[in-house]
Symmetry: C2
Subunit: 475 residues, 2 copies
């Protein structure tokens, strides 16, 4: 472990792959395109789950579990849905030693099976809103895969809801988008832009797709979460009907929304450096690592006692003691920096004499500070808050500093080709024009930001007003 | 909702199916043999997970996630394993619009893929013990399915570990069995017997399988959890080798262990009655339901305020207020009894005048007690403990009262055919004899209990000592 990482500036993609391997976040599996999430990576996912699950429940959602296998005929019921997902499906044709009468699809997403059940459960307006979430694995067969970002199987949550009115469905879709933003910014310390997707990027079967878009350290965009207004597309296709207060039958309005293990890829690429990961304290599996410095010929037990006392002082935090004797303190420093632990505490005989320790933070280089043990609990708690805040500010500044505005098509294309990060412009929604930009620059519209409702002359259509749009290359 | 349940005494199986539907624990899915776990059933699973996950971590295990798909060739590497699982496999033959070169198996259990990765990760004795757990879905194609007990897809956890010595592996397998026992008895309030499995019932690929066996209210056994010593079977098949302290290469000794959503079936069948579920307080999604009694022409707001105050008094407990106005209190009583909520609190104007409430417990009939609001918190907390204890004692007594001893083969067969519950005897392990009993009675050896090491003349072999064994019909 702790081989040399490829420097980020030299090859961002290789740096990303190296980190995942060296920090033991994930590993390649023998099945092409799938991955093994190792304990350190899974611990990040557990922290993501625990925050979001709490917020979903606070906002009235209940968890349930729907089958992995979906009859092929279900996928075909919603026209856009089947078109969007067909190329990515994995199919079970044999089971229990026999060929199946109808092939089963391994779920790429669960709108179809869940709405089939909703049709059974939703009878009256009293059954609405129905607010369901599922934590599950899904399969989308991918040709070009990348650990955490694009794998044939991934873990995610998918929320599925049904409401009486279009307004309620809109509110729900935006409420969940806000929760994603809250998680990403306050917990993962990554600045995001909330917006609506263009026609070519929206979910297959949705009326409107909202997303949060983050900027990675190579200035590319990463779509970190999506929330969809499905209108009545699925409730009509799956014949979900309820009787309203006047005993009239009606189709509910629906939403679905999801985030996945891709968020782990985001955390890696939004924060790291040439030494490895940088984890925000709120999500770090280990927030503080304590490393005893035991010189030769000294009595280790005194230092080890002190280390245990310090751990006890930091109750409530996620603290690890690294008391391995077979590796040097320097080796340990490198390893925990690679693993992105926010705070390191060192303690040796000289520190012990002064009843103090050395505290180093991961987010800033050369940040060693001597701290008296009496003040340690307060100092560390404050420091973790400061690191969290600093990391978010850095992410936010990075996004702002790498966003520029294009006044015409030539500027837009030039900026995107020079990889200047996010490029805003006024754009008249148009599939062909967007595909042309994509062909010339590999970039697409990441979103029409929700917080900018200006309408101005568009850069793509003469005498047409455009909406404020963000273009970027993306993962 | 709250249709009439089939009485337990009339048709136990139908009672079980009715309860699951009426209490909305699960539903049939359109794919034969699979089920939808509805929010109330899933909440039970979440409580099972949260208890066990904590205990797994306290005992040094880390969670990880391995791929759903396993190359067919992997399953074939361990001879007994492939023989045991072959009839139950589901196979993906097409993905991404193409036929796959090698078919992929949807995991029925993950020994093969996990040990393939262990071979990559385990190099030195310093990498041992390796203690991994996974929460996942698995697929075993079943012809005769039953909600929660036997479905083609189910949710479970599977622990997989590797150790330097056989002794450590034995300790680990028994440690996890103890945790399963602790959960089942202290949380699910179900008495279990810990033991080893006979040859015909052990896990395909294991050296020894341990299990916990519970008795359902129809006196049949349910295997609630298993823990396996795998010896070096898989470490040899998957070429896992580490260099020990003397730089010699060696194969580790391994274990695997698991419990599944079947535990929900156990909780239903170990406790319920003709009114519905009875949930032990430790696992109940709702521990206390408060029902306001609002007579016509009275002011509801006074009662509703009181109800909210009571809920506030019970902080820390899982409390629900049922203030629906469209159904009567009697309807609500039935519904919450059906759902097995341990404690019901009723409050109407007369109670309010006396500053008291009526408290009813689910586990005992006709148990209404008037309680002063000042004492409510203490009373309810004590009552929940008492219910938990009482339910375990009832389960324990039921098992003891329905266990008898057979002195010879005729007695064994007669007792098993008369469905007298568990039947113990001294048995000389022998596959053919056990299969004969199975043919005659449908019963098998549930286990050789760990707490009875006596050896006496066996009932199946002349002049051969037998071990103390428990026979029973089972789920």
């Amino acid at each position: 472990m702790v081989k040399k990482l490829t420097p980020m500036s030299q090859d961002f993609n290789q740096w990303y792959t190296d980190i995942i391997q060296e920090a033991q976040l994930a590993d390649y599996s023998p099945v092409k395109g799938t991955m093994v999430i190792r304990p350190y990576g899974y611990a990040l996912w557990e922290n993501i789950q625990s925050y979001l699950d709490k917020r979903f429940k606070e906002t009235g959602h209940e968890n349930a579990y729907f089958p992995l296998f979906i009859p092929k005929s279900f996928i075909q019921k919603e026209a856009e849905h089947v078109e969007g997902f067909s190329p990515e499906l994995a199919t079970v044709t044999h089971a229990g030693g026999k060929e199946l009468e109808e092939p089963l699809i391994v779920r790429p997403t669960s709108e179809t099976i869940i709405n089939h059940m909703f049709a059974k459960w939703i009878k009256s307006h009293r059954d609405l809103p129905m607010l369901i979430n599922q934590w599950a694995n899904v399969v989308r067969w991918e040709m070009r895969t990348r650990l955490f970002l694009r794998t044939s199987e991934f873990l995610w949550q998918e929320g599925h809801t049904a409401h009486q009115t279009k307004e309620e469905a809109t509110e729900e879709a935006l409420r969940m988008l806000d929760i994603y933003e809250e998680f990403t910014q306050n917990v993962a310390a990554v600045k995001v832009i909330k917006g609506t997707k263009s026609e070519i990027e929206k979910f297959a079967g949705a009326k409107v797709t909202y997303s949060i878009e983050a900027m990675m350290l190579d200035k590319k965009a990463l779509q970190a979460g999506t929330s969809h207004e499905l209108g009545q597309n699925f409730s009509k296709a799956f014949e979900i009907q309820y009787s309203d207060e006047n005993n009239q039958l009606a189709h509910p309005y629906q939403t679905s929304w999801g985030v996945s293990t891709r968020l782990i890829g985001m955390i890696i690429m939004a924060h790291g450096d040439d030494k490895g990961l940088k984890l925000p304290p709120e999500i770090a599996p280990t927030q503080v690592v304590i490393i005893p410095i035991i010189p030769k010929n000294s009595n280790p037990s005194e230092i080890l006692d002190a280390v245990n006392n310090i751990k006890a002082l930091l109750e409530g935090l996620r603290v690890k003691i690294d008391d391995r004797s077979e590796v040097s303190p320097g080796f340990k420093f490198n390893e925990w920096e690679l693993k992105g632990v926010p705070v390191r505490i060192e303690i040796g005989p000289k520190d012990l004499d002064k009843n103090s320790v050395i505290v180093a933070r991961r987010d800033k280089a050369d940040s060693k500070v001597e701290t008296h043990i009496d003040e340690l609990n307060l100092t560390i708690n404050n420091l973790l808050k400061e690191i969290q805040e600093n990391m978010f500010n850095e992410s936010s500044n990075f996004l702002n500093n790498n966003t520029s505005h294009a006044e015409d098509m030539d500027q837009l294309i030039k900026k995107l080709n020079e990889s200047e990060g996010f490029v805003s412009c006024y754009w008249s929604e148009n599939k062909d024009d967007e595909l042309k930009i994509k062909e010339l620059t590999k970039a697409t519209i990441r979103c029409y930001p929700l917080d900018n409702n200006d309408a101005k002359q568009s850069i793509n259509k003469e005498n047409e007003q455009g909406k404020f749009a963000i273009f970027s290359k993306s993962y």
